[in-house]
């Protein structure tokens, strides 16, 4: 289950691009999940460890992947950190849910991500553990926790 904390946590990895650049493993892009998200989100193909190909940019390393894909790869491979999934666009949402199918994943979220109409996540602010499946309820919770005067993101 994806366990979402709206807003900042002291231990969150806020900037996943920088973290990825300093912590990635070349082999991360070689598994089927990685190849799938790289193909779908970044319109690119994995050729070899840390070698990715795209018809516009040619060949590049995984540090050139989009922030959303990097975040997905970090969540998949670094299981003891809390990552800020506001580095991900809505097109990453199905993959976040897929990653959370078999294990609990705690993340921070600083905006109202669109998970579509068929989803289940837990919002864990205020020590709550409420499972949310309704997009409107999710949106209102995002508004409540993210737009308070005290909240600086």
């Amino acid at each position: 289950m994806l366990r979402i904390h709206f807003g900042a946590l002291p231990e969150e990895i806020y900037n996943t691009e920088i973290y990825y650049e300093n912590q990635y493993e070349k082999e991360w892009v070689m598994d089927d999940f990685a190849k799938k998200v790289i193909r779908d989100i970044d319109a690119s193909e994995v050729v070899a460890p840390d070698v990715i190909q795209n018809e516009i940019f040619g060949t590049f390393g995984s540090t050139e992947l989009s922030a959303g894909v990097k975040t997905l790869l970090l969540i998949r491979n670094v299981k003891n950190k809390i990552f800020n999934i506001s580095n991900c666009g809505d097109n990453c949402a199905p993959y976040l849910l897929e990653l959370a199918k078999d294990r609990d994943i705690k993340v921070t979220l600083h905006h109202a991500m669109n998970f579509g109409s068929n989803f289940a996540v837990k919002v864990i602010n205020d020590n709550k553990r409420k499972v949310i499946t309704d997009p409107t309820e999710f949106l209102l919770l995002a508004h409540h926790y993210l737009r308070g005067e005290e909240n600086e993101g």
């Binding site: 806020y14 900037n15 996943t16 691009e17 920088i18 989100i41 970044d42 319109a43 516009i56 940019f57 040619g58 989009s66 922030a67 959303g68 894909v69 800020n84 506001s86 580095n87 991900c88 666009g89 809505d90 097109n91 990453c92 600083h110 905006h111 109202a112 991500m113 409107t136 949106l139 209102l140 993210l146 737009r147 600086e152 993101g153």
Partner: protein, 184 residues
């Protein structure tokens, strides 16, 4: 600074175009659409100019604001287009919102986060959409036309309060019985 400013940046592989019509423009959208690429190109051009291999066309200087010394850089930046990329920690701070208030720059923020401390128009929120080597920049939110209201295709409408907006949409969607949530 006032008025519309046209901005374009390109290298051999990709070209971006942006019309900046207000002092704050927000760029958001899906992953993999080129937002980071755009910021990196502006950064490289601002550091190396034409020798970066990038062509930038804009009547004003363009910079990327980042790092812990952002306040000092901003104090010395005038009549410029200032880009700030996503996951820049100061972007959502009150200090930053205060610092940009009386400057004469235009700002382009690449972010998905709400920025309640910074006033900006809904028309200033744009998204980059994949389009091969020439990604498109388009407004994220569209105005509702008279025909939209008469057919009213929406199931849920969320309005800010119980005043004019609530009354308007109540009347507009009379035949559809949508659900309303309003802030009290």
């Amino acid at each position: 600074m006032k008025g519309k400013i046209s901005f374009s940046i390109q290298n051999r592989h990709i070209a971006f175009k942006l019309d900046l019509e207000r002092n704050v423009t927000i760029i958001t959208g899906d992953s993999g659409t080129g937002k980071t690429k755009l910021i990196n190109m502006v950064r490289m051009y601002s550091e190396l100019g034409k020798s970066s291999g990038i062509t930038l066309k804009c009547e004003k200087p363009c910079i990327v604001l980042s790092g812990s010394s952002w306040e000092t850089v901003l104090e010395n930046t005038h009549e410029s287009i200032v880009f700030v990329e996503e996951s820049t920690s100061f972007l959502s701070s009150h200090a930053f919102a205060s610092a940009i208030q009386h400057t004469d720059n235009y700002y382009v923020f690449v972010t998905r986060e709400p920025l309640p401390q910074i006033p900006y128009s809904v028309d200033a929120i744009k998204q980059i959409v994949k389009n091969g080597r020439k990604p498109k920049t388009e407004k994220l939110y569209q105005k509702i036309s008279v025909s939209d209201v008469s057919t009213f295709p929406y199931d849920v409408v969320i309005v800010e309060d119980s005043k004019a907006g609530f009354i308007f949409f109540s009347r507009a969607s009379e035949k559809k019985s949508p659900v309303y949530f309003r802030r009290r």
